[in-house]
């Protein structure tokens, strides 16, 4: 997993509530058997009117906005457990998603893939979206160590929560699986005690 610690970037605003995993990556693109290449089809049906006609109104096709930070409406990532949603966002170049509320499975999939989900208050989210709209070049600075996100143009800072263990994993690029494998004897002891 790729490490993440500090990042300063412009933002891509997607002020839509309940963005479900079928929008992030439609089911017909789940047929790949590797983790690569999902970025091409990120938000496929919102990005395209038809097979090859781009929807120029959709934010990913709007050159005004760019960056590694996606700022989304509440309940982002609801629906499926498909990790392909996190892979597609990461593959496209996003490293941070900001929302006032994430669906649980999406959040853990993101954390397992070096994509940092930052939960902010609805008020901060609304303010951030306004600032981005007013000044698309505005950047945010994310600092995982101090658990803060800063609007560079206004100096406004919001703190965010993250589980200490998951924070350590992201900062060091550790996978849960490495940790679990290191606990093999404890798992076996647990199994013997039950049987």
């Amino acid at each position: 997993m790729e490490k993440i610690n500090k990042l300063t970037s412009r933002c891509v605003p997607l002020p839509v509530e309940h963005v479900d995993t079928d929008q992030i990556i439609p089911a017909r693109f789940l047929k790949a058997t590797t983790r690569e290449g999902f970025g091409e089809n990120l938000f496929r049906d919102w990005r395209y009117h038809s097979e090859d006609e781009l929807n120029l109104d959709f934010v990913l096709n709007d050159e005004t906005y760019t960056g590694q930070v996606l700022v989304a409406g509440q309940n982002f990532g609801c629906g499926s457990s498909r990790e392909h949603a996190a892979w597609a966002l990461f593959d496209h170049g996003f490293r941070v998603v900001v929302s006032s509320f994430f669906a649980d499975i999406f959040k853990s999939n993101a954390l397992n893939n070096g994509l940092l989900p930052i939960t902010v208050s609805e008020e901060f989210l609304a303010h951030l979206l306004e600032q981005i709209e007013a000044n698309p070049e505005m950047q945010v600075s994310v600092d995982l160590e101090s658990q803060q996100i800063l609007e560079t143009a206004t100096g406004r800072v919001e703190s965010f929560e993250i589980n200490a263990y998951k924070k350590m994993c992201l900062q060091n690029g550790y996978d849960d699986i490495d940790y679990l494998i290191s606990q093999k004897s404890q798992i076996e002891a647990f199994e013997s005690a039950r049987n």
Binding site: Q23, K31, G79, S108, Y165, L180
Partner: protein, 466 residues
């Protein structure tokens, strides 16, 4: 401290925890399918690891499989490749696979219960959000991502933060034409598509207790649609009766011992939940969704909400966007809206009781000429049983196609797609944009509501035809 049902099962399965970390949760049964497992098996190969507990792993092919001519090779190359990859992975890692042609094949959440693999007190996971279905037996069951599928394959454990607990109590008697599907659609319409996020839900109350096991599965199945990690119902005589005699369930004395333990799996009277809701069964009517998430539902005789009824600007935007996609207008009546397709199937409503209810309802009647009506059973066993009971003939006479088992038009990874712009009344669990095919428009409803719409060619109150 008095414990909830959830606490009791979770605590039994905690192996340990890293400092300030999530719990290491031991998984009794891991269900896998072709879509979310290939990258996990690749991970094992990279690390040169075996599957830790192959006997606790059950595999089936369901998402990509065709529902016609299953005896022939899968035509769509990418679907075929994904199913073939599962076959190869199961061979290489020594796993039992209920693949195409196997009498146990079917939707992963249908075969677990029918084979007696799903049991009270277990922890169960699968790379599929509707794993919550198995909670109907009083198990902790939830969906996981592919990285977690790899964790479970490698160690039989998953790292999970303990969720908060919620109890949803539904008291009273359900009215005529009101089914388990209406109960859950009603609950989600009340607490919204995100109202359960962060929680594990226990369903309780006399209306829940009165449901059959298959009805309970329908309720738990859609827990994820309100954002909950999972749903569960305390096991009782209905549960024990259903489990008894199934292939993988304990037998004889072992069964009696198991039942004695399962009877302890109840929430203690003084236990405290992080959140509680109580609903009156009498307030529930046959439901229909109008929007693009499962929380956007109304009673069949209610109108589509208006922007004025929404509390916030973003809710108004969400409503406007959804109605634009659905081709509906605020304040319109749902009843009488023309439809093109009916899909009865999916892990929510493809069980034998669903097929029986539909067959009984349509017997001697004819579907509307302009409606395509697909019935996709959840498993080979359900299909065989439907044939044994003669349901296939009844359905065929009414103009409904009984197809072969799989996930089918729930998410349209196989050939079964609803064309762009067409309306489908579906018994599946999600009405997301494009869920049943790009541009498709989905109304979620119960099997008998879907059947009623198939007969009239428009959204209909099933009670008018009963």
């Amino acid at each position: 401290m008095a414990k909830t049902l959830f606490d009791k099962i979770w605590d039994r399965h905690v192996v340990g925890r890293p400092a300030d970390g999530p719990d290491i949760l031991y998984i009794d049964t891991h269900l896998i399918h072709e879509v979310t497992s290939p990258q996990a098996f690749d991970g094992l190969r990279v690390r040169n690891l075996p599957v830790a507990r192959p006997l606790q792993t059950v595999a089936t092919a369901d998402h990509n499989v065709p529902t016609l001519n299953q005896h022939l090779p899968i035509e769509e190359p990418l679907s075929r490749k994904q199913v073939d990859t599962l076959i190869r992975n199961c061979e290489e890692f020594g796993l039992e696979l209920y693949g195409l042609g196997h009498p146990n094949q079917g939707i992963v959440h249908v075969i677990g219960p029918e084979l007696g693999i799903t049991l009270p007190g277990k922890t169960m996971v699968c790379g599929d959000s509707h794993t919550s279905t198995h909670g109907a037996f009083g198990a902790i069951a939830f969906g996981i991502g592919t990285s977690e599928v790899e964790q479970v394959l490698a160690t039989q454990c998953v790292l999970k933060e303990r969720p908060k607990t919620m109890r949803i109590t539904v008291e009273g008697e359900l009215g005529q034409g009101v089914t388990a599907k209406d109960v859950i659609l009603y609950i989600i319409s009340q607490i919204s598509a995100s109202g359960g996020t962060g929680y594990f839900v226990e369903y309780a109350g006399s209306a829940i207790r009165s449901l059959t096991m298959e009805g309970r599965m329908t309720v738990c199945n859609m827990s994820i649609e309100m954002g909950a990690r999972g749903g569960m119902i305390a096991p009782d005589e209905t549960t024990f009766e259903y489990v008894k005699g199934r292939d993988f369930a304990p037998k004889g004395e072992a069964f009696e011992q198991a039942v004695a333990d399962w009877k302890t799996l109840v929430t203690e009277p003084d236990a405290v939940f992080d959140k509680e809701y109580t609903f009156d069964a009498a307030d529930i009517a046959p439901m229909i969704t109008y929007g693009t998430n499962p929380g956007m539902g109304v009673k069949i005789d209610q109108a589509v909400p208006t922007a004025g009824e929404m509390g916030t600007d973003s809710e108004r935007d969400t409503l406007g966007k959804a109605l634009g996609y659905m081709g509906l207008v605020e304040g319109q009546s749902m009843m009488g809206h023309p439809i093109d397709y009916v899909f009865i199937g999916s892990c929510t409503n493809s069980r034998i009781e669903d097929l029986r209810a539909v067959a009984e309802f349509v017997k001697g009647r004819q579907k509307a000429a302009n409606v395509e009506a697909w019935i996709v059973p959840g498993s080979m066993q359900v299909r065989a049983q439907a044939q044994e009971e003669g349901l296939d003939a009844v359905l065929a006479e009414a103009g409904f196609q009984l197809r072969e088992p799989g996930c089918s038009a729930c998410l349209a990874m196989n050939e079964d797609k609803v064309p762009a712009g067409k309306y489908c009344v579906s018994t599946s669990n999600r009405n997301f944009e494009g869920r049943q095919g790009p541009g498709s428009r989905t109304f979620l409803a119960s099997p008998i509501m879907a059947a009623a719409a198939a007969l009239t060619g428009e959204i209909t109150d099933v009670r008018q035809l009963m």
